[in-house]
């Protein structure tokens, strides 16, 4: 594939595609894809962390945890076309939630610029598999956060915020960073969900690749490979950023 990215239509070697993928509109598309991934990974990590902590902390009944973990296993796998349709049925133009809000709360979402087929809609839908993934990934790390630390902190007079600022977050940071990267990659490479939801309105890079590859209108496999190579580069850069961050945040944890 990498070799293919540097070939032209006649099979000769070329850098032309490499030059092309940093031009408009592809530059904007890469940026949009990265933005969507960053937002869903960020929001997903935060909500997933809070929910996972609520699920694990002292006092929450054990069975809730079993249910939520199993459910997360399912929901993290519930992606692609079926997920897209579930959200269309919920928040689409005649979706259940849309009509409910309109009829009972008197607020027309679509009149106020919201659409499930736009960027916000795609992000909302991605969260449906991002949050469960975060819960699954971060739960073992939270298990390592001992109740004694919290008690020790509150004995020393720390508020809940201080506990999180000086103990909880620093201890969890390496795991959170790792999970964030995983979530980023997860939504960066998502294709089927966005395709089912907004194949013609939100131009994410994976959709463009599929478009060039399946080629209903235009077909240029080598260009598709060049775009795919670009994705690969973005992920590689993400990993490169991650390694020193991880090392720094885990430095004192030996």
């Amino acid at each position: 594939m990498i070799v293919g990215a540097f070939k032209n239509a006649h099979g000769g070697a070329t850098l032309h595609h490499m030059h092309q993928i940093v031009q408009q509109p592809y530059r904007d598309q890469y940026w949009l894809t990265i933005k969507v991934s960053l937002i869903t990974a960020g929001v997903g990590s935060f909500l997933g962390l809070c929910i996972a902590y609520a699920m694990i902390r002292e006092g929450t009944p054990r069975f809730l945890r079993t249910i939520l973990t199993t459910f997360s296993g399912v929901a993290a796998n519930f992606a692609g076309i079926p997920l897209a349709f579930a959200f269309i049925a919920t928040l689409g133009t005649i979706g259940i939630a849309t009509t409910f809000i309109k009829d009972h709360l008197g607020y027309d979402l679509y009149a106020h610029g919201f659409t499930i087929f736009g960027q916000t809609g795609v992000e909302l839908t991605y969260l449906y598999f991002q949050i469960p993934l975060m819960i699954l990934v971060i739960a073992p790390a939270i298990d390592g956060l001992r109740a004694e630390w919290r008690e020790a902190a509150s004995n020393l007079g720390a508020t809940s915020w201080q506990f999180w600022r000086y103990v909880g977050i620093p201890v969890l940071l390496p795991s959170i960073l790792g999970a964030f990267i995983l979530l980023f990659g997860n939504s960066f490479s998502a294709y089927a969900t966005a395709y089912g939801l907004a194949g013609n309105s939100v131009f994410l890079i994976p959709i463009t690749i599929g478009f060039y590859y399946s080629g209903n209108v235009v077909s240029d496999p080598h260009f598709a490979q060049a775009l795919a190579f670009g994705m690969f580069v973005v992920l590689a850069v993400m990993m490169l950023l991650y390694v020193p961050l991880q090392r720094r945040s885990a430095r004192w944890m030996r």
Binding site: A54, G59, T60, Y128, A192
Partner: protein
Amino acid sequence: MRRRWIAPSAVVWLVVAAAFFLIPLIATLLFSLRSIQTNKCCSGAAYSLIVHDHQFWSTIRLSFQLALETIAISLLLFVPTVYWVHLKLPRLRPVLSLMALVPFVVPPIVLVVGLLNLYKGAPSWFYDKPYGFLATAYVILAFPYMFFALDAGFRSIDLHTLTEASQSLGAGWGTTLTRVILPNIRVAALGGSFLTLAIVMGAFTTASLAAFKPCPPYIQVLNESQPYEAAALSLLSFLIVWAAMLALVLVGRGRPRPAQVAATR
């Protein structure tokens, strides 16, 4: 300071989670129960249409056959491999687990593009038929889940002792593998198989690009003409994944759980 009761903020977060996760499912259910003539609740028409739709059964059968084929190939390939690596070449284990991460890091779409390219010159009985190309792609997509499940399984048994015992009783490699090792890692193998099933039943990326027609693309076609049936089908596919996961939990009860993440994205 042991808490007797659930903390208030925990309640808030759990309620948020429940709302976010359940509302789309309930809405999909209600949506699928709408009647086609009146657009009002409730009618089972969408479901009965699906059940009587010939195409639905043929696509779901294709998906299911593919899943079984993928599982069979992966087990045949990976059980002996992981066994051998654990027994004789433990230094290769990190290499294998690094390789297992590749399908995670490389976007599926990139993988598909690469695979389509690689097999371009293959004979048409392989390239054009779902049983050939698609199964190969699924085996690769399922590799990480299968590998980590099997790896955990092999690590939890005493491989060397079992192998030596069976060999000193006169068993060959084949017998050792099928009659001694396999029963011991049954749970891990089953876990990996269920995960693979979930992936294949949900996989859309590969199938849609390569233009074959297993189940999920069928939903896509349906949505353009009959939205309520599409909603019903989405719910059904959720139930299939749910069933696979539940089976996984039941099979692996009381044991360290294999990785549960198998997003088809």
